[in-house]
């Protein structure tokens, strides 16, 4: 479904932030990208969405979505893709909502922008998506302002919005990093269910290796903009080829791990 070939991304005149990135993704697959901060993980998924931050550009390579190159997309073509066929979840979904408008009004606007439905139908659709994310009392949430919800609830609103049109590809940038462990477990489980229920392919970027390994069919380990390990979960977790991956796996604190005192 998604094919990234030899991708390099450059910001301004600096040295490339990512180099020679290859990825091939089937429908309904979950791919985890892990690496330390600054390793270029977020740049990869931003490139897929054509939303590189200030001055970023693809300097080499190609990104194909269902056989069609995304790099030559016009504005209108992007508009038809983003939010419907490809959507994104951010680290802080609360931050992507307008703080002075109620969730419902933003949700209805989002649905009406992409399809031709009445506001009442859009409202109903929104409520049903919130219920699917197991948010209690969806009507009430639609009538709330973002600040009235907890971080975990806002994150679920963000995921519900991203899932509204059953996208083929969901890009998730650190979706659980700002959450508590119990909430993190809930969100991870719900994202896995999305794949089972809707066949959504997910690329998740995270620095939590435990989460990445749990969700992934394929794992990509990045360092300094380069892929150092890539393969199925079993290959990368049990037979890592690079020293960096070995070091990373050894550094993860474990309940059964060693104690320093």
């Amino acid at each position: 479904m998604l094919e990234i070939k030899d991708l390099s991304v450059q910001y301004g005149k600096q040295a490339p932030t990512i180099e020679h990135f290859n990825l091939s993704m089937k429908k309904g697959e979950i791919i985890s990208v892990v690496g330390e901060s600054g390793s270029g993980k977020t740049t990869v998924i931003r490139a897929v969405l054509g939303a590189l931050a200030g001055g970023g550009r693809v300097s080499a390579g190609d990104i194909q979505f269902n056989g069609h190159s995304l790099l030559s997309n016009t504005k209108d073509e992007w508009r038809n893709l983003r939010g419907t066929r490809i959507s994104m979840i951010f680290q802080d979904c609360g931050g992507t909502l307008n703080p002075i408008r109620k969730i419902g009004s933003q949700y209805v606007e989002y649905i009406c922008t992409h399809t031709d439905v009445s506001k009442a139908e859009a409202w109903k659709k929104g409520c049903s998506m919130l219920q699917k994310m197991r948010l209690p009392d969806a009507e009430n949430i639609m009538k709330s302002y973002p600040h009235q919800l907890s971080g975990g609830m806002r994150q679920r609103v963000g995921i519900a919005m991203a899932m509204t049109f059953n996208p083929e590809l969901l890009l998730a940038d650190e979706p659980t990093s700002a959450l508590d462990v119990t909430t993190q477990a809930q969100i991870v489980r719900q994202m896995m269910e999305l794949r089972d229920d809707f066949g959504t392919g997910i690329i998740i970027v995270t620095h939590n290796i435990g989460v990445a390994a749990y969700m992934a069919d394929q794992l990509v380990v990045m360092q300094h903009g380069k892929v150092v390990d890539q393969g199925t979960r079993d290959e990368v977790m049990n037979h890592p080829t690079s020293d960096y991956t070995k070091k990373l796996l050894a550094a993860v604190p474990e309940m059964e791990g060693q104690r320093y005192v």
Binding site: M153, D180, V181, A185, G210, A251
Partner: protein, 321 residues
């Protein structure tokens, strides 16, 4: 392992309430009792908003408890005069989550590191650089970092500077509030190793706030689990994986993602969210998320009860079983 005579600091019945809008009160800490022992680490885990940071702020006298007392070697910290509080701060120092926000961006490392000593008149200005180099060596950084500015360093290096600054006064207690949360795992590991080494060398007591149970388990002597302003379980660090009893601790353990876990096993998690601290339920704070909730839990708040030496649990279900 924990002797009464080794208690450095002890919190007794600490309650902290803040006024909130509409005449309500927010209870951040509700009857917290904890002891910090000489040369040992007390780890506090809990979810955001459970009152961990509020508690340590009171420990280092940045806030005063609404009621209850914090005794440092038997001396009540909230009764001290301004001068005495200032003097007492030498004994307790803090490392914050975000070092960049706790440094003056226009100060050089040499000034950042030696400011506490100069503040307390313990260092001559002429000896500044030598002392700074000594401190840098202690935290395994090169000596020529003295002329750098904070923004010229990586997150891990900055956190080492924070630790060096906090330890420059040779405090008896070091308080770390999520000191490694912002760091990458491999850097996090090296910072923890550094802290453990310094603790052994200098016999420092540590209070470490963390939300990662697996991390805190690796170096804490005792772990306090906090939920909605209440301490629900206190357990020796090495026992937390096998012997923890409180349903909330169990839930935290179940929600851990591990690289060696059975990847096909469904991850456990408790549904729903913690109630608002503005509206703490009567009885057990954990009642609405607990699968063992009984009639009694809805009316009577469980208190910490010792089940084993050094292991206390506040839960009706556990104590009645």
């Amino acid at each position: 392992m924990f002797k009464e005579s080794d208690i450095v600091l002890s919190a007794k019945h600490i309650v902290k309430q803040f006024p909130a809008s509409g005449g309500r009160t927010l209870t951040a800490c509700n009857d917290v009792n904890l002891n910090v022992y000489k040369g040992k680490t007390l780890g506090i885990v809990g979810e955001s908003g459970c009152g961990k940071s509020t508690f340590v702020r009171m420990v280092i006298s940045l806030d005063k408890p609404t009621s209850g007392e914090i005794l440092y070697h038997g001396k009540n910290l909230s009764n001290l005069s301004k001068k005495e509080t200032w003097l007492n701060r030498q004994n307790m120092q803090m490392v914050f989550q975000d070092p960049l926000a706790s440094f003056d961006p226009k100060m050089k490392i040499v000034d950042i590191l030696t400011e506490p000593l100069i503040n307390y008149g313990k260092l001559k200005r002429s000896e500044k650089e030598a002392k700074a180099r000594e401190l840098l060596k202690m935290v395994e950084l090169p000596g020529d970092f003295v002329d750098r500015y904070p923004h010229n360093m990586s997150g891990g290096q900055r956190q080492r500077i924070s630790i060096a600054r906090a330890l420059s006064l040779e405090p008896e207690i070091l308080v770390c509030d999520e000191a490694t949360s912002a760091l990458d795992v491999s850097v996090q590991e090296s910072v923890i190793q550094l802290l453990v080494r310094l603790q052994k060398e200098k016999n420092i007591s540590m209070l470490f706030i963390c939300h990662d149970l697996a991390l805190i388990r690796s170096f804490a002597h005792q772990i306090a689990v906090m939920y909605l302003g209440n301490i629900v379980e206190v357990i020796p660090g090495e026992d937390v994986a096998e012997k923890s009893l409180h349903p909330y601790t169990q839930a935290l353990l179940g929600a851990q993602f591990s690289i060696h876990m059975d990847q096909n096993k469904k991850i456990e998690s408790i549904e729903s969210e913690a109630p608002s601290p503005l509206d703490v339920p009567h009885g057990c704070p954990f009642q609405n998320r607990c699968e063992h909730c009984m009639e009694k839990c809805k009316t009577i708040r469980p208190v910490l009860t010792e089940v084993e030496s050094g292991h206390e649990v506040a839960c009706h279900y556990v104590t009645e079983k």
